[in-house]
Symmetry: C2
Subunit: 132 residues, 2 copies
Amino acid sequence: MRIGVLAKAAGVSVPAIRYYESIGLLTPPARQGGQRIYGSDDLRALSLVRHCRELDFSIDETRDILASVQRRSPCRDTKVLAEKHLGSIRKKIAELRALEATVAALVSGCETTCCGSAAPDCVILQPGCGAA
Amino acid sequence: MRIGVLAKAAGVSVPAIRYYESIGLLTPPARQGGQRIYGSDDLRALSLVRHCRELDFSIDETRDILASVQRRSPCRDTKVLAEKHLGSIRKKIAELRALEATVAALVSGCETTCCGSAAPDCVILQPGCGAA
DNA sequence: CTTGAACCTCAAGTGGCTTGAGGGCGTAGC
DNA sequence: GCTACGCCCTCAAGCCACTTGAGGTTCAAG
């Protein structure tokens, strides 16, 4: 199949496929008249890449996962990566929740303090209120 | 004061200050012998920039906030921006929580299904399990 | 034979800086 | 006066994971 067909089948953009090839994530396929021709193995690999990217693994992690699959020892390696990844997702959630609380407090502070009254400066802009 | 002093006072790196100037976020200060010399207004502006960045406003939003402050109508404009920002923070939290649930399910599925038994393929790698 | 879609490569843009190379300014000690 | 050192300067490239655009080629249909 040609690159457009592969792209639709895997749910990935055509430039993204060429990008993955350029960084060595996907192996370059055969060519016919200069055009890339892919097989079902390529579709499987690309689908796995898409799956990993949807789970928000980085390109490097995705590369490791592909390598594990090719070594036929995917499970243990992948679970370690997934657990580590889960940790960083949870860390980011915690950070964003702290940020959410800060900004929400500033907005409600603005409503009760400066927007509602004749206060001089908006609390949202006070330095030190919400240092992350 | 020179750039290094300003940087320490505001808690921002020296290259970041030069970057902010280069993109027109901060106005270029006077020079002495080619070196930038800042005053207390510059410190206030830069501190506000840092505050906005810590609240995770984008550079463009920060630019708008600075402009509002200079128009002396900061409060209403800023509250609107902050509310919008709060919405996007909450949206991102929701996305990350969905992702967390997906990855957590895959990890525990791996533990009970493939790592614990002699299953052929790791569930983490099954396409379609965790499409975002 | 021509049209048009799909393909090709290469370069630049996104955001928000950081890092590095290669050189200038200012002050203190000798 | 000279040197050493720290701070300053500009400009360019790097990070991530692509997207977008320009300009040209190949392929299938009419």
